[in-house]
Assembly symmetry: C2
Homo-oligomer: 140 residues x 2
């Protein structure tokens, strides 16, 4: 893989990752539903919660979260993508509207129908919240 094509793939993966946080923060279930893989198996570990396996369980949980009003803003901080062929992982921190990042996340994507689709989201609490500026500068 050339450096240029790797950079292009990373941009596409980070764009898919950004879609997750946009759909989440806008309470847009249709966008969230469209982001997750349809044929590849999916799973989710919400903070503190037991494993959700399969599209019904995972998307059902997001419908419940995203249908709540007012919507809950979740910002993505310092995302970094690692590519493994047709699979990619984005590591990032997650922060509330005006708060320092309080969660660390693993987001896994696979190539499906010519798009990067999510197959796994795992978020867990940070013992010490990471201030926005520090989180953002980690990868820059």
């Amino acid at each position: 893989m050339t450096e240029a094509s790797r950079a292009e793939i990373e941009r596409a993966v980070l764009s898919a990752n950004a879609s997750f946080y946009r759909a989440f923060s806008q309470g847009n279930f249709a966008a969230m539903n469209a982001l997750w893989a349809v044929r590849a198996p999916v799973a989710c570990l919400h903070p503190g919660a037991p494993l959700l396996l399969g599209r019904d369980a995972v998307l059902g949980s997001f419908r419940q979260i995203l249908d709540a009003r007012p919507t809950f803003v979740l910002r993505c901080e310092a995302p970094t993508a690692q590519i493994f062929g047709e699979t990619a992982i984005v590591y990032c921190y997650e922060a509330g509207a005006d708060q320092p990042a309080h969660l660390a996340a693993t987001n896994v994507f696979v190539r499906e129908d010519d798009a990067w689709r999510m197959v796994h989201h795992h978020a867990g609490p940070l013992s010490n919240p990471i201030p926005t500026r520090t989180a953002s500068s980690l990868m820059n």
Copy 2:
């Protein structure tokens, strides 16, 4: 992929996952080091801790944990594997020696040199510990 070859791949991936918990519980750094990918990029999110990126940071953290004596037993409960071509994810719960599972984990493996090698470990606390029997029966 046939059902038989899928089952075979799952067994190999679950065996690599078991190697992680065996190396951890035996305080065997050499085995842990051999398990992690050498060419593929690696990362780790220990419970509550910020992201570790790259082999030096990740294996450095495991050397510190595994060199501690007495060793710290970490049992793997209810592992389930999902295969994405040359990448695989194992979801499982983690428990101390005689305790209910108190962590949920995402372990990612890639095919490298004809073996399944670890590229990511993410463990985070469960709000409510899961008794061993429940955890084990989840996937059976």
